[in-house]
Structure formats: C-alpha cells, structure tokens
C-alpha cells in the first residue's frame, strides 16, 4: 500500500440503474478504484440538497450521483427532477467556493458495468488532480 492521498467519494446510486450497473461491474470482475462509498437510494430524485451539502460538510472530497438514463426512470420522471436540482446545486457550491467538479451526476444503466468502472476511474483521477476538499480542514467532527 502506498501512502499517497486517495479521495473519498460518496456515491448515491439509484436502485434500478446505477446500483445494478455497479453490481454488474462487480459480477463481471471489472477493476475500478475503491474510492467510492456507495449509498443505495430508490431513485436519484430521492437525493436532496441537504444530503449532498452534509456529505461535503463531513469531509467528502466528491459526491457522485448515478441515475437512470433520461426516459428510463423507474418512477417515470425522477431523473429529470434530479438533473435540474443538481445543475442548480452545482452553481450554488461554486458560489460558496467549492469546485463544481466535485459534484457529479451521471446516467448509467443496469447493463453498463463497464461504463460505471470507467466513470469511477475518471472521477478518481479528476478529484486527485483537484486535491482534497477545501472543507476537509474546517469540517468539524460531525455526527
């Protein structure tokens, strides 16, 4: 094990697509960085701004949200709502001084295990370039 800094990523994955996609990546024995801590939610629109803000406040270097492709939502229109919410939240965290790249929304279907592995690698590399979250130092001991 190297002592190199590794980002901590909180992942909210939708039960029907992205979580199954991650499962697919696992059962197909694909390799991807283990930086993501997965939280399974029933729909990507279940994730509200508070959850993401709290994740950043408690020291997450990035937050990843995975949902179904537009039009494929199990609950018909959940992911459209997510898209709008995340677009605005990205602007808000940018105003406050957190790089918007730290919040990432991707559409990954249950069949796209490879896509999931690729996204995880990309995200890890991007965040490594950015460095630790600026909130990490000031994050008090939460919970």
């Amino acid at each position: 094990m190297s002592d190199e800094w590794e980002p901590k990523i909180v992942g909210f994955l939708c039960n029907w697509c992205c979580y199954a996609g991650a499962d697919m990546a696992g059962t197909s024995r694909m390799h991807y960085p283990a930086n993501i801590r997965v939280i399974r939610v029933m729909c990507s629109s279940r994730i509200n701004a508070e959850m993401i803000i709290k994740a950043f406040q408690t020291g997450a270097d990035a937050v990843f949200i995975g949902g179904c492709h537009p039009g494929d939502c199990h609950y018909v229109d959940g992911n459209y709502r997510t898209k709008k919410r995340i677009d605005l939240l990205k602007r808000l965290i940018e105003h406050i001084g957190i790089e918007p790249e730290r919040l990432r929304l991707e559409w990954i279907s249950a069949a796209e295990g490879e896509e999931f592995a690729k996204t995880m690698k990309e995200l890890r590399d991007d965040i490594k370039k950015l460095g630790p979250s600026p909130l990490r130092e000031i994050a008090r001991e939460a919970i």
Partner: protein, 258 residues
C-alpha cells in the same frame, strides 16, 4: 404620497370593500406593522421603512379565509403574495392591493429591477429603467479559494438566531429542515460551515423575492442577499424562471426536462 394612500385606505374601508387594511403606523416614534379598520385614525400611517407585510396577510387569511383584506404593497410584497398564492397559502381574490412604487434610493439599495407592483392604480412614480450595474463584479472576480475564504469569514459570524428565516416572507413551511438534527446539530456555534446557509439558500431558489429583509434582520451583518441574488440569476439562466410571474411553477418542482 402618504396622503394619497390615506385617501385610498379611507375610501376602501368606508365603502365596505374591505374590512381591514394591513399597513405600517407610527407608535411613539417607531414604525410598526398594524391593521387599520373602519373609523381608525389614519394620521399615524407610515410607508417606510419596508417591512414584510405579506406574511401578516397570509396569517390573517389562514385564520379566516373569508375576511376581506387590503394590503400596502411594494414590488417585492406583490411578488411574495403571488408566490404564496401559487403554493396555496393565500387567495388573491380575497385580497385588494394598494400598490406603492419605491423611490430610486430604496430600489438601488435593494438592487431591485422591478421596484413597483403590477397593479394599475399605482401610487407613486414607476421606475422602469433603472441603472443598477453589476453588484457582484468584485465578487465574481474572486477565485474559488478566495470565495471560500470570504464566506467562511462571513458565516463564522452567524449565531444561529434564525432571524433570517423568521423574517422571510417565503419561509412558511411547518417543519423547517434547519431545525432537523440530521443536518444541523443543536447547540453548536457557529453552525457547521456551510450547512445552515446553503440549505437556506437552496430552499429559497426560485422563491426569494429579493426584499432584502433577511440581510437587514441579520444581527451579524452577513451579506445573505448576495447568495440569494446569485441564485436568482442562475434560475433565470438555467431555467428561464423569474420569481413573481403569475403562471409558471418553479421548475424545481416540475417534471419537465430542461
């Protein structure tokens, strides 16, 4: 201007068009919100400073929905009433509006581009083409790290008095997420950076009418309107949504694609 308003109020009360008028009055040299009824002395009526009267109208409406009220209304008050009506908090048919236009100084102070209500019989001069300039020029030039430093310093002053929420016309939820221990631990001062202020700002996106009451209510002097205004511009840019329009629903509540 005050005399004109007095005349209008007297007319409305005498004709029985409304039973009460929500306005401001002078009590021992201080201005306070009040309700005028038929026969009341109107000489103590005041028009400034501005105060969120829409909240009072909403509360009265909830107590008795049949009660006919008139309200002294600036541009921001009208926007607040319209947004409340969209969320079923008030019935605009039961409400008469006495529209007053803000003067140039007040409008510039609030950085308000629409400092007048849309009603026809407006009292005062309508300021339509106001040169506001970009109030965030300096702010926008800051780098990400500088912005963080700026807000860290500002939010550290917060003593979590909830004054910004309590004065806000658009904060009418029964259960407030800012009191939820999941996000904000009790008894911690200043509140965890940046949870309190980000949650509030995000909840007000597409709701904030730009009255600036939160900023003037803040005992620590945090520039809360800066972040609200930035989000207002974002709502316009991303979803083409302007607060206070009569038909459109906040795009964050709808399922439509953008």
């Amino acid at each position: 201007m005050e005399d004109e308003v007095r005349k209008r109020i007297a007319e409305m009360l005498d004709s029985g068009e409304v039973t009460a008028v929500i306005a401001l009055k002078d009590v021992l040299g201080m201005t306070t919100p009040c309700v005028f009824k038929k026969g009341d002395d109107l000489s103590s009526l005041r028009l400034s400073p501005h105060y969120p009267l829409a909240t009072l109208a909403m509360k009265m409406h909830k107590m008795d929905p049949e009660y006919k009220i008139a309200i002294l209304c600036r541009g921001c008050d009208e926007r607040a009433l319209l947004e409340m009506a969209k969320r079923n908090q008030i019935d605009m048919d039961k409400l008469s509006i006495i529209g007053i236009a803000c003067d140039e100084e007040t409008a510039k102070d609030c950085n308000c581009s629409v400092p007048y209500p849309s009603c026809e019989d407006l009292i005062g001069e309508k300021l339509e083409e106001l040169e506001l300039g970009d109030a965030f020029e300096d702010y926008k030039r800051m780098s990400t790290a500088e912005k963080l430093e700026f807000w860290k310093k500002q939010f550290e002053k917060c003593n979590k008095c909830y004054g910004c929420r309590n004065i806000c016309q658009m904060c009418f939820c029964k259960d407030c997420e800012l009191e939820n221990e999941l996000w904000l631990k009790k008894g911690r001062l200043p509140p965890d950076f940046p949870v309190y202020h980000l949650i509030r700002a995000f909840h007000l996106a597409g709701k904030c009418v730009g009255c600036g009451e939160c900023e003037s209510a803040c005992p620590a002097g945090i520039p809360l309107m800066t972040i609200n205004r930035l989000l207002r511009d974002d709502m316009k840019e991303l979803f083409d949504y302007v607060v206070g329009n009569t038909e459109e629903v906040n795009p964050l509540y709808t399922k439509e694609e953008f």
